[in-house]
């Protein structure tokens, strides 16, 4: 395919699941040079399959055709995090100062891989942060917690930003750094972290909040904003009244589905033998009792500790 300069054929190979074959296709497209740029840009932007797109971006990075830079920069807004990550790495291959502002913006991406990719690419280009504000985002991209602890620089914006990261380890590390920095300005963000979904994050947020001067009396309300997994007694009762057994299933009792099936079988046979009126008058009080029981046991379920 290389000898035939079959760009389309090579692009098709990008979507195979064998990583060796995929890598070989990327290198082959890279060797073809700028004649592959336009078809690769087309594939990178418009193909539905993620593997095509990732492979095409890698090949564009190997070709290093400057025409692809604006398109790659545009792809930093792609909804797919792997695409954005691949783009940040690809941009690092271009020796063009125009990529710097885009990579600096990517340091504020929601995804840690994208941020890391942007920081690594910036480092590769010899980037030196122009001011302390940029520097702290650069360190945050590398997750350089030691540098972020340095109280001589203002690291609050990236640290507060990292408190919302989907990765609990990052949230935990950001809280530990904020705790060491002990800045009162971090207090509102730390109160919010008291309601984090993760137990360790909440526990460490308490110490950090204290060190940042949050009054102790504000801790319980912050903690109470954590996600509560307790089941709703009314829903359990309602389900058990309408579909006896499913209320028990809702609160995690394995035998709920069994009661449900027994009820269905009994109801069908009562209908056939005793008729509609008798069936309802017989079953209604039982349903009511089951509903009350489900409501009661759900209400008595212990509150999960913070």
């Amino acid at each position: 395919m290389i000898q035939e300069k079959n760009v389309d054929g090579l692009i098709h190979v990008l979507a195979v699941t064998n990583p060796d074959l995929q890598t070989a296709a990327v290198h082959a497209l890279g060797k073809l040079g700028t004649i592959a740029t336009d078809p690769l840009l087309e594939a990178a932007k418009n193909k539905k399959n993620r593997l095509y797109r990732l492979g095409a971006i890698s090949a564009l990075a190997e070709i290093k055709d400057r025409r692809s830079v604006p398109h790659l920069i545009q792809m930093l807004n792609d909804p797919g995090s792997e695409i954005r990550w691949q783009v940040t790495i690809a941009l690092g291959e271009f020796d063009d100062p125009v990529i710097i502002p885009s990579l600096v913006s990517a340091l504020r991406d929601r995804d840690k891989y994208v941020r890391y990719g942007a920081a690594a690419s910036l480092k590769k280009t010899g980037y030196v942060p122009s001011d302390p504000d940029e520097a702290v985002w650069y360190y945050a991209g590398f997750q350089d917690w030691d540098k972020l602890q340095d109280r001589s620089i203002s690291a609050l914006p990236p640290l507060v930003f990292l408190l919302d990261d989907p990765d609990r380890e990052i949230r935990l590390n950001a809280i530990k750094v904020l705790s060491k920095r002990a800045e009162p300005a971090a207090a509102p963000a730390l109160i919010q972290s008291l309601g984090d979904e993760d137990r360790d994050v909440r526990w460490n947020a308490m110490f950090a909040a204290e060190r940042c001067g949050v009054p102790q009396s504000e801790l319980p309300r912050g903690l109470y904003s954590r996600p509560h997994v307790k089941k709703n007694p009314l829903i359990a009762g309602f389900l058990n009244f309408l579909l006896p057994g499913l209320g028990y299933g809702y609160i995690g009792k394995w035998w709920g589905i069994m009661i449900f099936q027994i009820d269905i079988t009994v109801t069908v046979w009562l209908f056939k033998i005793r008729g509609e009126a008798d069936t309802y008058s017989l079953l209604f009080p039982i349903y009511l009792l089951l509903a009350i029981h489900a409501w009661y046991i759900t209400k008595r379920l212990p509150e999960e500790p913070p």
Binding site: R199, Q216, P220, R221, Y224
Partner: protein, 322 residues
């Protein structure tokens, strides 16, 4: 309905409620999600003095969690009569941990005569936030416990594991008490202390740890157990008694016997439901043709065999949880 009234009330003019002396509605605003409204309501209520007490006490017992937290905060900032008694009662009987924590913190900040017994009790609580806050309040009030057991609980509450390590067998009782019902982090820390101190009186904790539901903790318990005098030969036997997280084999078998397919679904097989639906369809059609009992009679030997199969499968799954 209560929620709708609450939202309507939130937009109302707090001054108007103040003029109408509507303390009950003002108290309900102490639980508002907006801190500014909470603060305005608290300012308005503080002008009523003792006359707001019935509304506050009523909300303390019957209000939502958010209102109860607001009331406790308000009581902490306003010196109203019998506050300590009410807060001690809330700490004793409340089920929501955050409300108990708020009551304890407020009591600790008041430093009154009601505070010390509650704070000492808080040191022995199963909730680490409560233990820590109690210890902190006692330290601030300069009332560090003078009896040895209370002092050990104090160090545990402070998570001062270094000092606990120096206390050897004296610490066993409190450590065992906090271990049972404590959170996984605290249980791990306690095990680490036992591992280092080689405390021979703590065999019971190590035995419990070997049966802990947390697999990381069970792993940590191996080293601690050997240091505490449990022989290596005993370890597998103790560890085998841990509560398995896998499906209950009896439940899986029973479900499959009565409702073929649901047992498979219970042990995590997606195709359990299609099997169940097929089984039920065949049973119902057969019942329409032959009456209610014969199809079940014919099916039961088959479902019994499959129940045994599911039982064995569920046992194998739960065996994997080591």
């Amino acid at each position: 309905m209560a929620d709708l009234w609450f939202l309507k009330c939130a937009n109302a003019d707090i001054d108007r409620l103040k003029k109408r002396s509507d303390t009950y509605r003002l108290v309900s605003l102490l639980g508002h999600s907006d801190p500014v409204i909470r603060s305005q309501a608290a300012d308005a209520l503080s002008t009523f003095g003792d006359t707001a007490l019935p509304a506050l006490i009523n909300a303390l017992h019957f209000g939502t969690v958010s209102v109860r937290l607001g009331v406790i905060d308000f009581l902490g900032n306003n010196n109203l009569p019998h506050t300590g008694t009410h807060l001690a009662e809330i700490f004793e009987h409340e089920k929501v941990p955050e409300v108990r924590l708020a009551a304890l913190i407020t009591l600790g900040q008041s430093g009154g005569t009601d505070a010390e017994p509650v704070l000492l009790k808080g040191l022995r609580d199963k909730n680490r936030y409560i233990r820590y806050s109690a210890a902190k309040a006692l330290a601030r009030l300069n009332r560090i416990p003078d009896t040895l057991p209370d002092l050990i609980y104090f160090y545990i509450a402070c998570q001062d594991w270094g000092t606990i390590r120096t206390m050897d067998s004296d610490a066993t009782g409190p450590l065992m008490d906090i271990y049972s019902g404590g959170d996984a982090d605290t249980r791990r820390a306690i095990l680490s202390v036992l591992k280092d101190t080689k405390n021979k009186t703590a065999k019971q904790i190590c035995q419990n740890a070997l049966q802990d539901s947390d697999s990381r903790l069970r792993w940590n318990a191996i080293g601690a157990s050997m240091n505490c005098g449990i022989s290596m030969l005993q370890l597998p036997r103790f560890a085998a008694g841990h509560k398995r997280r896998g499906p209950d084999p009896v439940a899986a078998a029973l479900l499959n016997f009565l409702f073929l397919g649901l047992g498979y679904n219970y042990i995590g097989k997606w195709w359990g439901f299609p099997v169940f639906m097929t089984y039920m369809t065949i049973i119902v059609l057969a019942q329409l043709m032959t009456g209610p009992f014969l199809p079940y009679l014919v099916a039961s030997p088959i479902t019994a065999l499959l129940a045994i199969h599911t039982y064995g499968w569920a046992v194998r799954i739960s065996e994997q949880d080591v």
